[in-house]
């Protein structure tokens, strides 16, 4: 009976690793060891998630570790490992690595469970588990008042949207008499069904900072330490997109008009995110708006209810998360104002060129991960006949080159910031950044087998 449960080994491992990291000050080497242990355990969890294969519905149909979940779980665990590795090298602002790593791993465990959720209750609990630690990470500098204000704002708004989401879920349960995605029978429920689905989705929209519900992100990110933003802005997004694909697939057949709603939210996110990012001078704000824009691109593939679209969206979240996390980690090293990056190319040529790789991948230029991701996003929207949305997506991608290249210009032709101390060498942090740079290229090169496994074929 227990044999099938091996598939959950990555989640068990990552939560166990979180507890080890939590008591990291009892280990020899204390804080740093805790971060190393966290990175190693998360890496092992990523390998197990990739090797663990897939299965049908399990545990009374509450979870389904399918191909999309496998890819997303691997991505979440791998990114958590990368982040913990960087933290082991450079540390957190308050020098408490162990708690940060433990929180990140709890969040990762929740996120990995979320990608498999086939039940409203599992989905809600997993979502809370993946976002609760994020609130603490956002307010990690405990004596920094503006930072705490940002974290509190984030916490209150996230709680509010959680409540809205629960309200929507109560409607869904009331209509169908079941919390299971497979048994959500919403045909003929009329406006009540639409209301339930919309309220539930609003919670997810806000958590992923989609356009009308994005207003918390720039303020919250700008107040938080860049290293926290690196985790919070990327890893939960992978889990969110995966569970949205599941939820939409369960309800799209019964509730009309979801395509239009998703397409409108996607269009608004792309426009607003890309245009608002243009004048930003703080890298955290810039990446917050870039995140809004990328949520728009992702929703474009989620809008038509096709398995190819869902696969393409989950692929792209990982293709977006790797460079996005790496850019924020560099910002955590160099300072998050754009001028702090001035003449980075002469100070740290390798880091500067890696930044170019990540930024170019975010714009979507071949042969990097972002290009193939966007190609398949646009492809799946096109095959559903959403031509106007694809045109908008391509146009806003061109706009996005404007602000991404502004960062590049600053790194190569900007003025050296006055009075900066030379950065201490931290080999593990550099290793983490190198892995991120290689992964950005490797995901692009290996895109077609990965996408084929996710059930995406260019039609």
């Amino acid at each position: 009976m227990l044999s099938g449960y091996w598939i959950f080994a990555p989640e068990v491992l990552i939560v166990a690793g979180a507890f080890i990291a939590l008591f990291g000050d009892l280990l020899p080497g204390r804080d740093r060891t805790a971060a190393y242990v966290g990175a190693a355990v998360a890496a092992l969890a990523a390998v197990l998630a990739a090797a663990g294969g897939t299965a049908g519905p399990m545990v009374f149909g509450q979870v389904e570790p399918d191909e999309i979940a496998r890819f997303a779980r691997t991505g979440i665990a791998a990114l958590t490992a990368l982040w913990a590795l960087w933290v082991a090298g450079r540390g957190m602002p308050d020098e408490r690595r162990r708690d940060a790593v433990a929180l990140a791993m709890f969040a990762a465990g929740g996120g990995m469970l979320l990608t498999m959720a086939e039940d409203l209750i599992v989905m809600y609990i997993a979502l809370e588990l993946s976002t609760m630690p994020a609130y603490v990470l956002m307010g990690y500098r405990r004596r920094d008042v503006p930072g705490l204000e940002g974290a509190l704002k984030y916490f209150l708004l996230a709680m509010l949207t959680s409540i809205i989401m629960l309200y929507g879920m109560s409607f869904l349960y009331g209509i169908s008499g079941s919390t299971s995605f497979a048994e959500l029978a919403l045909e003929g429920s009329g406006m009540l069904g639409v209301l339930g689905v919309m309220l539930t989705l609003v919670g997810l929209f806000a958590k992923m900072s989609a356009a009308p519900f994005h207003y918390w992100a720039p303020d919250a990110y700008a107040g938080a330490p860049a290293v926290s933003v690196a985790f919070v802005s990327t890893v939960p997004k992978i889990a969110g997109i995966a569970v949205m694909a599941r939820l939409l697939h369960a309800v799209a057949g019964d509730v009309g008009g979801l395509v239009t709603i998703m397409a409108v939210v996607a269009a608004a996110s792309m426009l607003l995110g890309n245009l608002a990012a243009l004048p930003q001078s703080d890298l955290r704000r810039l990446m917050a708006y870039s995140g809004v824009a990328h949520t728009g691109y992702l929703f474009m593939a989620l809008a038509p209810d096709t398995s190819a679209g869902y696969g393409a969206a989950v692929f792209y979240t990982v293709a977006y998360a790797v460079p996005s996390m790496a850019i924020m980690l560099v910002a955590a090293e160099e300072g998050s104002d754009l001028t702090d990056l001035g003449k980075l190319a002469s100070r740290r040529p390798l880091a500067a060129w890696s930044m170019v790789v990540w930024l170019v991948s975010l714009i979507g230029i071949p042969p990097l991960a972002g290009f193939f991701g966007k190609l398949y996003l646009f492809g799946s929207a096109l095959s559903a006949g959403l031509v106007w949305l694809v045109v908008l997506g391509v146009l806003t991608s061109v706009v996005s080159a404007g602000y991404y290249f502004r960062v590049v210009r600053e790194m190569f032709f900007g003025d050296e910031p006055a009075g900066i101390a030379a950065l201490e060498p931290a080999p593990t942090a550099s290793l983490a950044l190198a892995i991120a740079a290689i992964a950005t290229v490797a995901i692009g090169v290996g895109a077609s087998p990965l996408l084929a496994a996710l059930g995406v074929a260019l039609g």
Partner: protein
């Protein structure tokens, strides 16, 4: 369908009217002899000391948090105790894992000095 809502509406209306009638009847019929002792705040029968609008020490917050953790634990333990003999070994193991996670949380709070009064 609208028929159901009529029933609910009537129920709400009757509820409101019932409460209004009972409260106003007791106001009309009862003797009104207020005294200082009667007007005191009820604190489990003990005479209150000081004003009720004092600020509480923020340290209580940690205790409230820890209390909620174990409150939730008991909420889960009761239904579990009823069904576990029918559900077999796996449910027993699950509950031990659950309690172990909570105990680790308490151990962490203890280690970090959250239980020390400051």
């Amino acid at each position: 369908m609208p028929h159901d809502y009529v029933v609910i509406g009537t129920f709400v209306l009757v509820g409101i009217i019932f409460v209004m009638i009972t409260i106003s009847t007791s106001n009309i019929l009862s003797h009104q002899k207020p005294s200082e002792a009667k007007g005191l705040i009820y604190e489990c029968g003990v005479e209150p000391i000081g004003a009720p609008w004092v600020q509480f020490h923020v340290g209580y917050y940690v205790y409230a948090l820890l209390f909620v953790v174990f409150d939730i634990e008991t909420v889960f333990l009761y239904p579990w105790a009823i069904v576990f003999s029918r559900m077999g070994m796996i449910v027993l193991v699950e509950m031990f894992i659950f309690v172990a996670v909570l105990l680790l949380g308490l151990a962490y709070a203890w280690k970090e000095g959250a239980l020390r009064w400051r």
